[in-house]
């Protein structure tokens, strides 16, 4: 058991933070703009644990994020995840390295005909599988120890990455031209598996916020048409299936990497009243909050980014200025604004740079004076 890690939750802080967190969705601005640096194993470093500890011990991992959220005064919701989620249910093995999140040991689809051998487990079978077991451990721990910060989340980062991971990324990308039908078979199986996972979480906890991303599906790798065909369409399918099975209604969309040429495609993402959209880059620059407001602000709570390398290697003032620029450009977005980072904040990010994000929110994100 990970406790004791940190003094008990400060209920006064939590009440305030929770009201602030909910304000973009309820249309009643409160306090200041919130921020979420997408912290994962950074929290392990902050509390003296290792990256491996974070990923091999879900209860510890989720508790670390919860306590770090309180420490930094950011979103009062805890989470724990990694990119290659639900791949074990497709037959892959995960390995745990010292400096990385879990990775797929080796491709299991060596030839196109191997795709047919992969089976999609139903919701009850998935609930007994390794991935759901990890999530249940994490969420049960939260339910028992820090229930105020539990929002059960079903992560599917990302179905394209999962399908590609079990083939080998290079080979899968080549198959998008040479064997597109096989790619679709694999994507459908990866999507159905992730959706069944989300439904299993929703059944156990009554709801499951859906976290889905276009991580491998970006225009550094694929054409805009390729992003639509192999990433976007399956994100939609995942969300649709998971919602029909009891998942949602909260949605978190994370568009990782460069989306300069394909962002228009994502205007058709399935919406809910609680939909947050985070975009990483527009070419080499972070996707501007002004452009996000203009293109997506009427549909989603926008979550613009500060560059993750800047978070790691920039000075505190550089981070503060970058966050300030984004906040000033997008803080009046119609459905609200959350200050974010372009991807998971690097584990070795100096805590002062996370505090710089908060300071920018405090100085330029206070509601009522714009």
């Amino acid at each position: 058991m990970p406790l004791p890690l940190f003094p008990s939750l400060n209920k006064e802080w939590h009440g305030h933070a929770f009201k602030r967190f909910g304000s973009p969705f309820t249309g009643t601005p409160f306090g200041r703009i919130d921020f979420d640096p997408i912290m994962l194993s950074h929290t392990a470093k902050v509390f003296g644990h290792t990256i491996k500890d974070f990923y091999t011990n879900p209860e510890l991992g989720i508790a670390l994020v919860a306590h770090a959220n309180e420490l930094y005064d950011c979103l009062p919701v805890s989470h724990w995840f990694y990119a290659n989620v639900w791949v074990r249910e497709l037959g892959a093995k995960l390995v745990y390295k010292e400096l990385l999140p879990p990775i797929i040991e080796e491709p299991i689809v060596k030839e196109p005909e191997d795709a047919d051998k992969i089976e999609v487990l139903d919701v009850d079978e998935i609930a007994k599988g390794p991935t759901a077991t990890e999530y249940f451990k994490a969420y049960d721990y939260m339910k028992e120890n820090i229930p105020q910060m539990l929002v059960p989340i079903a992560w599917a980062f990302d179905v394209l990455g999962n399908a590609a991971g079990i083939v080998g990324v290079d080979k899968f990308l080549l198959w998008t031209i040479k064997q597109p039908k096989i790619c679709h078979v694999l994507l459908k199986k990866a999507t159905d598996t992730s959706a069944n996972g989300a439904i299993a979480i929703a059944k156990r906890y009554g709801s499951a916020m859906l976290g889905i991303g276009s991580v491998l599906g970006n225009t550094d790798l694929l054409s805009p048409a390729g992003v639509k065909e192999f990433s976007f369409d399956y994100m939609q399918k995942y969300v649709r299936q998971a919602i029909r099975g009891g998942g949602g209604p909260q949605l978190f969309y994370h568009l990782c990497g460069n989306h300069s040429r394909d962002y228009q495609i994502f205007k058709d993402l399935i919406l809910s009243p609680l939909s947050v959209l985070n975009i990483g880059y527009d070419g080499k620059e972070t996707f501007s909050a002004g452009k996000m407001k203009e293109e997506f602000g009427d549909k989603h709570t926008i979550m613009p980014s500060v560059d993750t390398t800047l978070m790691l290697r920039g000075t505190t003032m550089e981070v503060y200025e970058a966050a300030k620029k984004q906040i000033l450009e997008g803080r009046d977005s119609p459905r609200g604004f959350v200050m974010g980072t372009a991807c998971e904040v690097p584990p070795d990010t100096p805590p002062s740079n996370i505090f710089a994000l908060r300071k920018a929110c405090e100085d330029f994100g206070t509601y009522g004076t714009w």
Binding site: I177, L222, R261, T309, P346
Partner: protein, 224 residues
């Protein structure tokens, strides 16, 4: 018999189109017509691959198309390579390349390898999650001109500096040029760890590798 000019054009076009069968066909035609194998690779496949990389830079082609072109190109290279008369030391450079220890993300490294091969450099691909010492051992063993290291993860960036230090400690830092690449890196980081250059992408990596090899060989000679 098909003429040399037509063969080279055929190899280039087949590479651009990612047409593996045509690439093999023109490679065999090249051998029949006694076209020098190195000229076939450089004047044919590499020219085609240059068009592919230019189109990638402009956003007109994407990674799947590059991989298709590379597959076609390697089909031709495999036919032509056994007939190469050029000695390794006469190649326009030898590059030892790999993803640093602890990291397994190798799309960028694989693209760089393809572009380096296409540019006629000798490439020793160490793969991914490469133990740090291997960058030194393999470079020594192969008289490498360039050591190219990449990482996508911020947690493994420190390994790049350790390799540079290993070269310094062994007194062989001036024997090679060190290029680093990967999303979280930049020239400031390259300067900080004592690497020679940061390449923003695979295309720039090739330009740098060729330029730096020429500079190095002028100063150091052909071998270590």
């Amino acid at each position: 018999m098909v003429e040399k000019k037509e063969i080279l054009k055929g190899l280039a076009n087949a590479t651009i189109e990612g047409d593996a069968e045509s690439c093999k066909k023109f490679a065999n035609e090249a051998l029949k017509a006694k076209v020098d194998a190195y000229e076939g690779i450089i004047g044919g496949c590499a020219k085609g691959m240059k068009v592919v990389s230019d189109r990638y830079e402009k956003g007109e082609m994407f990674v799947p198309e590059i991989l298709l072109s590379a597959e076609a190109m390697y089909g031709a290279i495999n036919i032509l390579k056994p007939h190469l008369k050029i000695k390794a030391a006469e190649m326009p450079g030898t590059v030892v390349i790999g993803v640093i220890e602890g990291d397994i993300h190798d799309i960028g490294k694989n693209l760089a390898r393809i572009m380096l091969d296409a540019a006629g450099l000798k490439v020793i691909d160490l793969g991914r999650d490469v133990p740090l010492k291997e960058y030194l051992d393999k470079a020594k063993e192969n008289n490498a001109d360039i050591v190219a290291m990449s990482t996508l993860m911020t947690t493994t960036m420190a390994g790049l500096g350790k390799v540079v230090n290993m070269y310094k400690e062994q007194g062989v830092r001036d024997k090679v040029k060190i290029i680093i690449g990967g999303a979280p890196l930049d020239q400031d980081f390259a300067d900080e760890i004592g690497a020679d250059k940061w390449a923003k992408d695979a295309v720039e990596g090739v330009v740098l590798a060729k330029k730096m090899t020429a500079e190095l060989r002028k100063k150091r000679g052909m071998t270590w």
